[in-house]
Symmetry: C2
Subunit: 240 residues, 2 copies
Amino acid sequence: MWPADRHNGPRAAVVRVIHRQTVFPQPTERSCENDRMTALDPASAPAARRGRPGYDQQSLLTVAVGAFNRYGYEATSMGMLADELGISKSAIYHHVPSKGDLLRLALDHALGGLEAVLLQPEATAGAADARLEFVLRGTLAVLTERLPFVTLLLRLRGNTGIERQALERRRAFDREVAALVDAARHEGSIRRDIDPRTTTRLIFGTINSIVEWYKPGGPLTADKLADDVILMVFDGLHRR
Amino acid sequence: MWPADRHNGPRAAVVRVIHRQTVFPQPTERSCENDRMTALDPASAPAARRGRPGYDQQSLLTVAVGAFNRYGYEATSMGMLADELGISKSAIYHHVPSKGDLLRLALDHALGGLEAVLLQPEATAGAADARLEFVLRGTLAVLTERLPFVTLLLRLRGNTGIERQALERRRAFDREVAALVDAARHEGSIRRDIDPRTTTRLIFGTINSIVEWYKPGGPLTADKLADDVILMVFDGLHRR
């Protein structure tokens, strides 16, 4: 079904992206995303080791994102987070100055992952349809690897400045993918009888809806899901 | 691209479905959906003609659905609806006993449209892949024709009994489509290397996401959009 180089090439590269960017950057990593995270509270990791072995900034962020997705960002108070974590509000403020910072860090984790895909060599050089496939596989990998974070990003309504900034970054990412769709269309590798804007929206619709039902750790692996999506979108469901 | 009978056959039939079920059933129609709507307030249409020419139950419902989608069902009060309509709350209660009834009628309008597609002869007889395509085209037609109503349905969280009943009807509809996917797979017309549950979820993900961006009356007609979706899902984006 797939020529070996197309199947193994881009996917192996995407796996490299994901491994390079661990879910939560370690203090020794020098990524831009990590800088933003540690700049907020450079002492958070040592502090966690000193007095609160259960929670550092990263695990606190995971709990916060879970609550934001469950109750909505507006409806989640720092008191509710403290209750969920079984710690005091002041213990949370030890890690982050405000609820808005938790939101900003969480959205940055989703967006940083997506933006990193676009910077890979496989996304910037070569045939447009191979670049498009690489970027979609990368998007799927970030989505399944950072599922609650991407879920939060996709449910944003833009009520606060932090949300609007994140939406602007998301739109910039979408524009890059739209440009790849356009390039693949001009190159002649994808069909021209569908408007490229419609194509891009249908692709994102298909991919983004996965946050509503995908269960990591279940029988459907992230790699198989990515293969399935790429197969349906590019080759269709009909047997030939 | 399409054999004439497959392209014109199911689509023409879907157009018939939509025309038979007008967006708001007329009092003379004898559909089950209409019975439910008029049973609530059989005098609503004459009353509207007598004293409130601007609003009958149907136009009131359209405004209510717009508000539910904008502010959320819970956050929308009857007072807010009265303000949007420029009438008193008691004028609203003249048409419907409660906010819950507005929600129930609105969800019934979306679900009734979808369920009617499954009852058409083209959905119940013939090759499974043609039936599947007919049902997907019908789903797309209901979605674009009753866009705010389907949007409301897709955003339900199941907080009330009315919502849970609607979600159960939606799940029953989804199960029928899943059964068609399964049948098309067994028949050998759609690919077997994707799990049928994944296939169904990706199809619904693609179709349902349309509520997030489609603008009726814009340059992309509902028919062209349906063609585009069917083409991508069944034949894929790659040029051959």
